[in-house]
Symmetry: C2
Subunit: 142 residues, 2 copies
Amino acid sequence: MSLDAPTDHTGLRVMGAEECLERLASVPVGRIAFTGNGKVAILPVHHVVKGVDVCFRTSGGSKIEAAADHASVGFEVDSYDPSTRSGWSVTVSGIATVVDDDGLVVELEASDPTPWTMGDRSREVWIRIRTDELSGRELTRT
Amino acid sequence: MSLDAPTDHTGLRVMGAEECLERLASVPVGRIAFTGNGKVAILPVHHVVKGVDVCFRTSGGSKIEAAADHASVGFEVDSYDPSTRSGWSVTVSGIATVVDDDGLVVELEASDPTPWTMGDRSREVWIRIRTDELSGRELTRT
């Protein structure tokens, strides 16, 4: 971290886009936030990064699938160390859609052959979040 | 885990309310999801549990404070182990409000004397999520 790295009003270091994408891909699990039935829901998912977009599997008929019809969603990854009260997070804002391109599904399956959950594989769908905004913050102590 | 523990349609073990609250308090950082300007935002926060509610500090004038005017929000904590592809999560759905009870602020400050971020303490506010729904899932491999 250089001394003149940009910080926000709470003293957090602001990451550039490239670092955001690296961090996004550096952890296997993130959280998707979406609205449904007038409520805001948030669920952890095992994700892969495709270009600047975030993709993950979900069960056919899930709450997420229902919400992913070109809806605005949020996505977040983070890592923290309670012993030093330090950590970082990257957040994505974008539009979620069900992947209906068979070629892309094959590509995604190949890039991530082992799902984390044990639902009915035949009903599984991939969701892609097309990233509109990407933001990253780091909290360090010197 | 007993053999007849309830599971959902993806094979995840469903936690009872008491276990959800224990897990919620067992980690120092969770993520709040809320809507603002037609988008769904998600941010990590350092939280404390008060009864069945979740409380955390935020900077005065923050996006979260603006969104916390009796709005429906989601909150999530989790923990996972990539080496075994296992983990758990607890999610909260509720209404967020700014804490304006001075007695409660004193109590919250006492229960959590060391903030994680370094913003202007004098402008800080506490947000309380009044829990409507509490849900927990665990993914284990046997």
